[in-house]
């Protein structure tokens, strides 16, 4: 019997199929293009050209985006596709056109669309040319039809703006802290409007006094004074803004007392001004205070004087929550609760960037136009725009991940190791918290992550729990206009807080929209009901979150929050009405037959999207049999996992960290990452010869398209030691299986060369460097032997380390002064590109194209066949990794009576402590699947149960235990015990011996220190480190010590003057030793020291320190 929730799988299937894997990125970017861009421009609205003789204004109008294109060197325009951008190393970006009008005396004189810069276009977004392409058309455009998009292409490389977790904005979060044994209560708000953030903090200490901390004010301001300054003069008014409940008002006593001297608004402003700008002119002080109140304080409520009342009200609400917390009527807010978090994606991140870039552009325009006062009209305006300001800023930021103000690493290079790693990368969430601090709570799994964030997929080490991945069922909310919702609320009978009567204010529910108090309603619970009803009948947007907060304490304030903001993590749930699930079998049937989409269900109110706050009001069940008492039914249990953990069969039987390891490891497995291998331009790429879909699969694997882009092979695995060749996690692999193609991959590397043009007419040439010409760095004839006449290697030529692929010569780096009598002509440098020293391969593809700068560009792809060898890393899907210990001979391997010889032998010690029972289950279900002839479903929680396996295995005469009699291939004797054997999916990981093997006898040294270089790429030595040194010291092996650290490192002879102790030298011309200090009196001796020591002496001398070596004759 399979799990009943399997019936509901089609819903999740339809959801992910339709929305795609990168929906969160695409939604965010599309919204930015549609509204964000315009709203940033509208903020500026107009540019005043303050010119003495001829003042005018430039009015900024509509923006629109053109098709992605690039400008060639000659100024012509090419419309490009993403594939072309990747190939030619250019950015995939589109010009932004903005309507600009010249306005004089309120009349529009001229207007025109002007180019204000290029914006990188997200692949597969609405602005991308691939948008709405059919599969066939995508293939024609050189795209993988299964590519999810959601990334940018900057200078040919794919960059993702990883989702950034942030605390919710405009939300009052109360917290309790212990300072020196005393409780301190705090209410914090991150007030934010697009691109601008200000933090407000209300603090209540022991004495009950509430003070406000505002950015821009060095001292705390009593909250009552602040409220007075905002226009609430009377005590009654102030108290009413907090609460009308007596016991809450009583707590304000200390605050009122503190503010007793300041009774009027005017006084309050003066009070504040004295503290924020002491010692200034009074007039100026007042101005500063007013600016603080309008800009620094709660800017999300508005930046004008008329918003002050509302701000006072908001402060009152914050104070109210604070007091309720103190009275223990409510509990402190949980910062790690996912309802208090939002995730920012590309759109929001780009908005920040575009705002500053656009403001710079406007400033620059204004400056230019004011300076050149004479020219005017739209042509002058167009000429004053430097689109580069915007284009370069956006391009550079995405290319480097440098977002300004110290935010680095915002973008990352898209992981294309395999298809799964790409998907997982696009669903990644980063936390801004420092990875060096412990932040234990923030790293923990939180109950509200359920269905939103994958419980397994997170890196180990410093980023553990800070980098997360979206669960399959997670949906990121989009912005919904709050105005409509507010209107609906008033229609339903909410009363604006200025009109509300006292009893309503005291007993009613406070209604907030996006953290803003909009009014009161008598019966909050009823309002929640009607709002949700509206949402379920699609009268309001499904992404709107509605949550109701009520304390069990009598008299406590009831609050209703409606959230319309983008970036909340939602998850779909089935609505239960009157004890019955609304999702009927007929509906499921329609969805699975594609007659209906999950969107229809959403519109019908059968399923709804809940954020973590709203989920607190829900009562969930997993069981569709027992739906009484519950409000919602879970759709599908496996969907709580993310992409990475979704590939693990039977993960619920594994020890949890094993699933975490596997989630990380699966991203390193090699397989079939893209069907567009022939046009792929990734610098490093692996490709498996015979990838297979796993015989024990999961529902999510199929859904995510991983069965079309597999990364691994099904192996017959026996759990058996083999002469010690599989101890300590090594694995034994059958050589015959390897001969037949098991684990065989190609490694592709692309080498690039571009002929640049330099100022002064100099340019790079592609040619075979000639020994006779004056060429610096000539590598010898042998290195160029593979080049054809054009200086480029032919396809299918085998090339090894050091062989030149593209011959290229360049002009001198610095133009030297002209030397008339120079016998040789001007030299050129050899800048040929060769195969990396430690690699080999066959030239696979040669591509010639034109680069961004107009130069000829070659991309040469070299392929290298990688046959598994001792030391290559493999892993099953259960975090059981290991390296090959031996490629065992076929005849030595154990066999069954049937003649089955396993491909892999894994040591039994790999299991007891790790408890990866899932691997055993995969093993026997794999065996059963092979017997049954169809795949097994190993989906988490709902996979096929063990009785299915039993039927399949016993039906074909195998034991349910998975054990079999086996014979030792070397002796022909049967093993005294039966051996556990089955079929397990093994992944080849991209750590291969061929990439790491390294040895050195003699070789390069560093220029500065003359010590051996470091690292394989530079042919470096292996470090004889401190601990190794300690060993030799302990042994007293002084000659070995000297050999390692001096003779075989940077031994150098220096000459020292015995009289003064300073370094002397040997003058070759005079054939004598010279000490510059002692002159003739010098007695110079040769000493052998480490070159680094000589360097130290000289560096000290440069600091005006005279190190003297006192040397004596060795006895």
């Amino acid at each position: 019997m399979s799990d009943t929730s399997n019936k509901r799988w089609p819903i999740i299937q339809d959801l992910l199929k339709r929305e795609g894997i990168a929906r969160q990125h695409l939604n965010s970017f599309d919204e930015f293009l549609e509204r964000g861009l315009q709203s940033i421009i509208d903020e500026v609205a107009q540019i005043e050209i303050e010119n003495a003789e001829y003042p005018y204004k430039i009015q900024l109008g509509k923006v629109k985006l053109q098709q992605p294109r690039m400008m060639e060197l000659d100024g012509s325009i090419t419309h490009i596709t993403p594939a072309e951008a990747r190939l030619r190393n250019v950015s995939y970006s589109a010009p932004i056109m903005m309507e600009a009008s010249v306005v004089e005396d309120g009349k529009i004189l001229e207007s025109r669309f002007v180019h204000i810069g290029d914006i990188p276009v997200m692949v597969r977004s609405n602005a991308c040319i691939l948008h709405n392409f059919s599969t066939q058309k995508l293939i024609e455009h050189g795209e993988d039809p299964n590519d999810p998009g959601g990334y940018f292409i900057i200078n040919g490389s794919e960059r993702v703006i990883v989702g950034l977790e942030d605390l919710s904005y405009n939300k009052i979060i109360v917290d309790k802290e212990k300072v020196g044994g005393n409780d301190v209560f705090k209410a914090k708000v991150y007030s934010s409007i697009v691109g601008y953030r200000a933090k407000l903090e209300l603090v209540m200490k022991n004495d009950g006094l509430i003070v406000a901390r505002i950015p821009g004010s060095p001292v705390d301001i009593p909250v009552v004074t602040l409220m007075r300054a905002l226009g609430l003069e009377a005590d009654r008014e102030v108290a009413a803004a907090v609460s009308l409940v007596d016991s809450l008002q009583n707590e304000l006593e200390a605050s009122f007392e503190k503010a007793a001297d300041v009774q009027t608004t005017k006084d309050a402003i003066v009070y504040i001004s004295k503290r924020i700008a002491p010692g200034m002119l009074e007039e100026f002080q007042i101005k500063r205070a007013e600016t603080l109140l309008d800009w620094g304080l709660l800017p999300h409520l508005g930046k004008h004087q008329e918003n002050r009342r509302e701000k006072a009200q908001f402060l009152g609400e914050a104070a109210c929550k604070l007091i309720e917390l103190k009275l223990d009527w409510i509990s402190p807010d949980d910062k790690d609760h996912y309802g208090n978090k939002v995730i920012k994606f590309a759109g929001q991140m780009l908005a920040d960037l575009f705002r500053t870039a656009f403001r710079n552009l406007v400033r620059d325009m204004k400056y230019q136009l004011e300076r050149s006062g004479q020219k005017r009209g739209i042509n002058a305006v167009a000429a004053a725009i430097r689109p580069g300001i915007v284009s370069d800023k956006l391009n550079n930021a995405i290319a480097t991940g440098n977002w300004g103000r110290g935010r680095v690493g915002v973008t990352q290079l898209l992981d294309r190791t395999n298809y799964l790693s790409t998907i997982s990368h696009l669903r990644r969430i980063q936390s801004p918290l420092s990875r060096t601090q412990p932040n234990f709570e923030a790293r923990d799994l939180h109950p509200t992550h359920f269905g939103r964030i994958c419980p397994s997929e997170t890196p180990e080490g410093s980023n553990c729990g800070l980098v997360k991945n979206l669960a399959l069922s997670a949906i990121i909310s989009v912005n919904v206009s709050p105005e409509e919702i507010i209107e609906k609320l008033y229609d339903l009978g909410s009363v604006h807080f200025t009109d509300a009567k006292e009893d309503l204010k005291r007993d009613g529910t406070r209604v907030f929209v996006d953290g803003r108090l909009v009014g009161y309603y008598k019966d909050g619970e009823k309002l929640v009901e009607s709002l949700r009803e509206l949402r379920r009948s699609s009268k309001i947007h499904p992404h709107v979150g509605i949550s109701f907060h009520k304390s069990s304490v009598e008299g406590a304030t009831k609050r209703l929050y409606v959230n319309c903001n983008a970036g909340r993590v939602l998850r779909p749930l089935i609505v239960i009405k009157d004890g019955k699930s609304l999702l009927t079998p007929e509906l499921i049937d329609k969805v699975s037959k594609k007659l209906m989409s999950w969107n229809d269900l959403l519109r019908m109110g059968v399923i709804e999207l809940n954020d973590a706050n709203e989920e607190e009001n829900c009562f969930l069940t997993l069981d569709d049999k027992d739906t009484k008492k519950y409000t919602h039914l879970e759709i599908f249990p496996s969907a709580i996992l993310g992409a990475g953990a979704s590939i693990i069969p039977y993960p619920e039987h594994n020890q949890s960290p094993r699933n975490t390891y596997e989630s990380a490891m699966a991203k390193q497995s090699l397989g079939f990452s893209t069907p567009m291998m022939n046009t792929s331009t990734y610098v490093r790429q692996h490709f498996m010869w015979y990838p297979q879909t796993p015989i024990v699969t999961t529902k999510a694997m199929n859904l995510l398209g991983l069965e079309d882009r597999p990364a691994g092979q099904n192996c017959v695995v026996a759990v058996l030691p083999f002469d010690g060749y599989n101890i300590e996690d090594a694995i034994v692999i059958s050589k015959a299986a390897v001969d037949r193609g098991l684990g065989r991959t190609f490694f592709f590397r692309i080498y690039e060369a571009e002929a640049k043009q330099y100022p002064g007419g100099m340019r790079d040439n592609f040619e075979i460097p000639n020994a006779e010409d004056n060429i610096r760095g000539y590598k010898g004839e042998k290195a160029y032997r593979l080049l054809e006449e054009d200086g480029v290697i032919a396809t299918e030529s085998p090339a090894t380390g050091g062989d030149i692929l593209i011959g290229k010569t360049s002009p001198p780096r610095f133009m030297e002064e002209y030397r008339e009598f120079e016998s040789k002509g001007p030299y050129r440098r050899d800048t040929s590109i060769g195969v990396r020293p430690s690699e080999t391969g066959v030239v696979d593809t040669v591509v010639m194209t034109q680069s961004n700068e107009g130069g000829k560009m070659y991309k040469i792809r070299v392929r290298d066949m990688r046959i598994p060898e001792i030391g290559d890393k493999f892993a099953s899907r259960h975090g059981q990794k290991g390296v090959i210990g031996i490629l065992a001979r076929y005849e030595d391997l154990p066999y069954t009576a049937e003649g089955v010889i396993p491909d892999v032998l894994i040591n039994p010690h790999a299991f007891p402590s790790r408890m990866t029972v899932g691997m055993f289950m995969e093993s026997i279900s794999g065996k059963a699947a092979a017997q049954r002839g169809t795949k097994f479903d190993g989906s988490a929680f709902v996979g096929e149960k063990m009785d299915e396996i039993k039927t399949a295995l016993e039906g074909s005469g195998l034991k349910y235990s998975g054990k079999e009699v086996m014979y030792d291939g070397r002796t022909g004797k049967a093993f005294p015990v039966e051996v556990f054997m089955g079929v397990v999916y093994y992944q080849k990981l991209h750590h291969m011996v061929a990439d790491k093997i390294h040895a050195r006898a003699r070789g390069q040294v560093q220029m500065l220190t003359k010590q051996p270089t470091e690292g394989r790429a530079r042919g470096g030595g292996l470090r004889f480190g401190e601990m190794e040194r300690d060993c030799l010291i302990a042994y007293g092996a002084s000659m070995i010590l000297k050999d390692r650290l001096l003779d075989e490192s940077d031994k150098a002879e220096i000459y020292v003057c015995e009289r003064c102790g300073l370094v002397a030298y040997h003058d070759v011309k005079q054939r004598k030793y010279v000490c510059r200090v002692c002159g003739d009196k010098a007695k110079v001796s040769s000493v052998s020291v480490a070159y680094a020591f000589k360097l130290l002496l000289q560096e000290m001398q440069s600091l005006n320190v005279a190190p003297r070596l006192m040397i004596k004759e060795r006895v």
């Binding site: 015959a736 001969d739 696979d844 005849e891 066999y895 009576a897 049937e898 003649g899 291939g969 022909g972």
Partner: protein
Amino acid sequence: MSVKIKGAPLQYANALRRICLNGVPVFAIDTVDVIDNSSVMSDEGVAHRLGLIPLKTDLKRFAEPSKCSCQSKSGCSNCRVMLVIDSGETDTTRTIYSSELSSEDDTVKAVSDKIPIVQLAPGQKLKVEAYARLGRGSDHAKWNSANVSVLTHTDKPDEYVLTLETTGALSPEQILVAGVDELESRLQEFKQTISELKA
């Protein structure tokens, strides 16, 4: 094919099993000259696939390259067979099967006609010359003489059952006979080595 071995010690019986598995020489493609390959598959890929195609083997007519009288590196007609694939032009997507492997010697040909080699898209071509040689499974699994070579025990001591299944390159009987010969010659060789040892 299963044979019962009586009276032989386990060591002998297992040695025979091991020799039957990969000690008897069979034909397999060893060298491939790629003349034209515009398919999506790399030259190495095509060569590897060709190598794994089991070929019918006549042990009497051919000698192993190392034991052949020609002693040349490329081989002679006694130790080498050339097979050719020439796909020609195609205007539909089609798969090249082992049936298109034409051999210069009728006795050495693919065991089955239905082994797919590579799929060609319209306009793609494949033209290769492949050379098959005799070899041992211990060098590469493509020369494995038997698929299955299993020695199982019976209730009685010194009585075993040897089961053989083959790729079709040789019949099980041929393998068994050749295997016994091989075992004998190896023992002979061993005896020789020992006798040459000085006390």
